[in-house]
């Protein structure tokens, strides 16, 4: 039986599997065929896992025994910074090139229980530091919609794999837009959950007060299915939210969406992106949503705050790569030189830059001016956003201010690359959830995306309104 991968969703695949129209192996083989055809050009996967037969057998027996859930047998791509026991997880860095995970991350554990098929690990910006998947130590990944353009980043491999039908669903991670931005650049749905909703246990850390794992898929419903499985309390993550604190009182929707006008005006948005955004907002009115301008002048400082807090956390988190316990180790005469040489040769340019920047903002004499000030402004951003949610359900912005750019276009200018994340930063800084939804295509076939942001732990609102936005297409 020919499987139509383009239109396949979790529910459609599940139906085919439990009605025995197809076997798990047929589904996996259909995706592997695409991998064989496309991965060489796109470089989305760094590795296809060597235990697929075993995984397929386990999933098939769950189905045959009538114990399947919606995710059983569904092929998924995994970002290279998510630990899967017995397999390499390199964060696309030379320093972890041969690092084999000694335990399963929480998300892998949960998805394994469902019988998900982990197809392989996907390319990313080194240590998730980038917005184009060009800082990987293992080559750039290309956008399947135009291979002269970037897929976004840092979860660009996962996005590229999904958009080219090399997987049905994928996991990415975010510190600031790394799920949403590549999802938008590849015409997909991508979710950044509330901080603490999904455990960070077994995720290679970048900015620990900002990091979250996020699902990516072609539809909001698929993202919702994955989210529900991975969004559980985990005692191994001290910031994981206990189950009893997750059940918030769910008031009915106001059907009111806020547009933070000043923020948009300062965002340097391309005309085509702005036009698509306004058009989407207009269409939402036809679904009885009221769109109101809101004032959140503080948001324009988000990215600046992020570029202080994130490097500070990076410099601390990446201190563990010392060439001693695991990872790349350079030969040297003394211990200091083992550290300094291993780190010089093992880390790429962007990682080195961020470590030094973090060391600077945390150093004596600058700590108060940068790090402490950034913490204060972060708190102000959080408070102001919280206030505005008393009037609206969500606020809406474009996901990225511009369309997917050419490979190499922004690599020489870090600040222009950082500006990709301008609309992403508020959700990560304020610990709240946000989702990107495809909102149309250019004449040349490049995707547009819009982003909605909801109050803490209100992913349910994102799914409801997200499905409405999806229905406009």
């Amino acid at each position: 039986m020919e499987i139509n991968l383009k239109d396949l969703t979790i529910k459609k695949a599940h139906k085919l599997l439990i009605e025995h129209e197809i076997k798990v192996k047929d589904l996996v083989d259909a995706y592997l065929l695409e991998v064989g055809k496309k991965n060489k050009e796109l470089n989305a996967y760094l590795e296809i896992y060597n235990n697929l037969t075993e995984q397929i057998e386990k999933a098939q027996s769950l189905i045959d025994e009538g114990r399947a859930t919606e995710l059983t047998g569904i092929p998924m791509a995994i970002k290279d910074n998510i630990l899967y026991k017995g397999h390499i997880a390199s964060a696309s860095s030379k320093i972890l090139e041969n690092y084999v995970a000694t335990y399963d991350s929480f998300v892998i554990e949960k998805l394994k229980d469902e019988g998900v098929i982990f197809l392989g690990r996907t390319n990313m910006d080194e240590f998730a530091m980038g917005s184009s998947t060009e800082t990987s130590a293992f080559g750039v990944t290309k956008n399947p919609h135009d291979t002269s353009r970037v897929p976004g980043g840092s979860s660009g491999g996962s996005a590229s794999a999904l958009a080219s039908d090399m997987a049905l669903i994928a996991l990415g991670t975010e510190t600031c837009g790394s799920v949403r931005q590549p999802a938008s650049f590849c015409g997909l749905v991508g979710l950044k959950p509330s901080y603490g909703a999904v455990s960070r246990s077994g995720i290679i850390a970048m900015g620990s007060s900002l990091d979250q794992v996020g699902p990516m898929a072609k539809t909001v419903e698929d993202v919702e299915i994955i989210f529900k499985v991975i969004s559980k309390y985990d005692p191994k993550d001290s910031t994981s939210i206990p189950e009893e604190k997750r059940d918030l009182e769910k008031k009915p929707l106001k059907k009111k969406i806020g547009i933070p006008r000043e923020f948009l005006e300062g965002g340097g948005i391309d005309k085509a992106v702005l036009d698509n955004f306004e058009e989407t907002c207009q269409k939402l009115k036809s679904l009885d949503y009221e769109l109101v301008d809101i004032s959140l002048p503080i948001l324009k400082y988000s990215l600046a705050v992020y570029y202080i807090i994130m490097p500070a956390e990076v410099s601390s988190n990446l201190a563990r790569y010392d060439g001693i316990r695991y990872g790349f180790s350079a030969e040297a005469d003394n211990l200091f030189d083992v550290y300094a040489r291993s780190r010089a040769l093992g880390f790429g340019k962007e990682a080195r830059r961020r470590i030094l920047l973090g060391t600077y903002v945390l150093s004596h004499g600058y700590y108060d001016a940068y790090y402490n000030t950034a913490l204060r402004v972060r708190k102000m951003i959080k408070d102001e956003i919280e206030k505005v949610f008393s009037m609206i359900d969500v606020f809406i912005t474009p996901t990225v201010p511009f369309l997917p750019f050419k490979l190499g276009e922004k690599m020489g200018d870090p600040v222009s690359m950082y500006l990709c994340d301008i609309f992403s930063a508020p959700a990560n800084l304020a610990n709240i959830p946000a989702i990107t939804i495809p909102s149309g295509w250019t004449k040349e076939g490049l995707p547009f995306g819009v982003q909605i942001t909801a109050p803490f732990l209100r992913e349910d609102i994102l799914f409801t309104i997200g499905k409405d936005i999806e229905s406009l297409q």
Partner: protein
């Protein structure tokens, strides 16, 4: 940002950085710091708004701690972990002599 300062940061970060990269990094730092400096415009508002409120203390992050208990069986993971170490000896990770 001057070159001496970058070299000092590289030393603190335990990263050998070549001279040509030091110069490029100094330039990148100037543009990044010029961008992030804008937060200083608003932080004074924070002081006014928050100095009397309790939530001022909330920003100062706190550590979440637990008892340091060994929950895994002895040696159950030692082999896997040692496999990732560049140099080992007799079930230990080997380091350069420091004294």
């Amino acid at each position: 940002m001057d070159i001496i300062e970058i070299k000092k940061l590289a030393n603190l970060s335990r990263i050998d950085i070549k001279d040509d990269e030091v110069e490029a990094m100094a330039r990148d730092f100037d543009s990044i710091l010029a961008y992030v400096d804008q937060i200083k415009e608003v932080s004074s508002n924070f002081e006014e708004k928050n100095k009397t409120e309790d939530n001022y203390n909330q920003l100062f992050l706190y550590n979440v701690v637990r008892l340091d208990e060994a929950k895994n069986q002895k040696n159950s993971q030692t082999g896997d972990i040692l496999k990732n170490a560049p140099q080992t000896e007799d079930g230990f990770i080997k380091v350069k002599q420091i004294l």
